[in-house]
Symmetry: C2
Subunit: 343 residues, 2 copies
DNA sequence: CTGTTAGCGCATTCAT
DNA sequence: ATGAATGCGCTAACAG
């Protein structure tokens, strides 16, 4: 900036002292009405805006939140980001966004960078890489430094902090159960996220539903997707050998992808095979047939996470620290065309 | 932060002065090897990280970029964001993300906030609201304050700055032309973004292609989408009256949506109607049939914009200011299943 | 080679 | 009601 207008300059121009100007602009009752008016007029005239970096240094808080997500291209995370941004702005905060790209290194580095005074707290969903490494030191240590962390969706029990998740187990259980009750004999589970707690919970829900509702000799199969191309091959071979009439997919893309493979074989959805996916996305609304999905309420999830974090940031430090809490959001099954459901 | 370790504390602990510690950590040649080693060891031991806010204040730059996009849920913008974030991190910058949500007010407010010292420069794609209002004061004035701005995709000639765009006119011209040359008689254009320069350019390209290649009595129609539900109704009525065999859509969602309406009428894509969309998204790869699209290379676009901005940020202020430049990225037509194309 | 000093812009305590 | 002085944590010019 060539010549940013500062308090000092306003002070010169107005013939008041810096502190008077500062107080006047802050509507401090110590200052007389006339001075306030003069100063404010001048400030407006010169288009004064306080330097936020200086203020941050002084106040020792930045009113900025660090947001770390694995991947913005996944619609769910994009939605959460929308919720976070919206709520943050509402409450007077900015967000610094980092995309971990599912990598431990990038996640850790971002946290370490931003943790050096750039942000007041973090909202994070853990990367696959971090799960694999099973190392949460970077998170624990920021919490120890008294920088609050809120985890959402992909969380871990190894770190104590506020969390916001959805009822993964239950949702998956429910989806599977509904398929079975509406006549599916052989329901399989497809997942590209088996290396996250979220994926694991969804598998558990699936298994439990089979146990509770399916005949013992029914198909019970979890297909892990790592590479989509390889999976296509594998899945086609699989369908050559087995008869499937229901699919629960752990996310949106895998649901759509699987559905298209099914249709590509000349099978009909939902007549021959019913498909239910987990998601929040546009894909599902606009697929053909439209996908029946478990709505994860991403925007709301983001808002809640943000509120939790800011609440903690703004609580008086002499108050008792509130206990950490985990909020579980209930999903909603959105019925579209890809599954025949009774109820 | 309860007790962030600072230079001052390191100075106490090491019995050197603050400045010596500072210089030692910065590998300043003034400092002896032994001292450097001692200090660095201590710093590592206490896990010292410099306070970036203080450094920003001192250096008068934040190494942070403000990114303002209309909507992260649109895949194209999400991709650009990925490109920006990636390149920024690579070059040692953070990004503060604001979502304007297509609103002038939010856009202006974000810029004004962040322009007060929080960021060194901006990367922005203009909101629909701003186009409507036709007011670019908030942008011009930040440039006047010597905060560089790079605009991408949705740009305006009313502001002089670096820009990165794609060849919208040409791409649209080309897509339309290809449809006509492969036999489409009646190609219409569908757009939800007609209130942006991008949308306007694409319409122009469409019109020119009709002019150059289509028979004079062929259909020539631009359908504007404001509300998708209303559009569905309108479009169905439209197809009752007119015969269409080609559709060019100005973005991804409108392409998919239109295609699904067509299929919903029992028509076949691409046999009865060919569809080409503009996009960068997952939707197109996974639609049924997969959508033939104009790839806008969002990630690369984001990277280029970031490089341009940072170059300007880091150029010596005593050098001559470089001229503002506009980079035009060439799109690529990705042929999938939704259009019969000859070549 | 090391230390003292000043100052980035702001808020605030303590005089006056 | 106003102003002088201090310090947030850091860098760097200057002095020794």
């Amino acid at each position: 900036m060539s010549n940013p207008i500062t308090l000092k300059k306003l002070a010169h121009l107005s013939n008041f002292s810096i502190s008077t100007v500062s107080k006047a602009l802050a509507d401090n009752p110590e200052i007389s009405k006339e001075t306030k008016e003069k100063v404010k007029k001048l400030a407006k005239l010169y288009n004064y805006t306080p330097n936020l970096v200086a203020r941050s240094l002084k106040e020792r808080k930045t009113r900025t939140i660090g947001v770390i997500i694995p991947n913005v291209l996944a619609h769910f995370f994009a939605k959460v980001l929308v919720g976070i941004e919206k709520e943050a702005v509402e409450l007077g905060y900015n967000i610094i966004t980092c995309i971990s790209d599912e990598s431990y290194d990038k996640e850790a580095k971002s946290i370490q960078m931003l943790g050096s005074g750039s942000v007041d707290g973090f909202i994070i969903s853990i990367s696959k890489g971090t799960y694999q490494k099973n190392d949460y030191q970077h998170l624990s240590s920021t919490i120890e430094k008294n920088i609050p962390v809120v985890m959402f969706d992909r969380v871990t029990e190894h770190v104590e902090c506020d969390k916001v998740v959805i009822n993964d187990f239950e949702s998956s259980y429910d989806a599977t159960k509904k398929l079975i009750l509406s006549g599916c004999k052989n329901v399989i589970f497809v997942s590209p996220i088996n290396n996250t707690n979220v994926g694991v919970e969804r598998v558990k829900g699936y298994n439990k539903a089979l146990e509770d509702y399916s005949s013992p000799k029914a198909l019970s199969e979890i297909l892990i997707i790592e590479d989509y191309k390889e999976f296509a091959q594998y899945f086609n071979d699989y369908l050559d050998k087995k008869t499937v009439d229901g699919i629960v997919a752990a996310d949106e893309l895998s649901a759509i992808y699987t559905m298209n493979l099914v249709i590509g074989r000349g099978l009909k959805v939902p007549e021959d095979i019913s498909v239910i996916g987990f998601t929040d996305g546009i894909l599902s609304e606009n697929s053909n047939p439209p996908l029946t999905t478990v709505d994860q309420h991403g925007i709301e999830l983001g808002e809640i996470a943000t509120r939790k974090l800011i609440q903690r940031l703004e609580q008086n430090s002499n108050e008792d620290q509130k206990e950490y809490t985990t909020t579980t959001l209930k999903t909603t099954l959105i019925k579209r065309g890809s599954a025949r459901l009774d109820s």
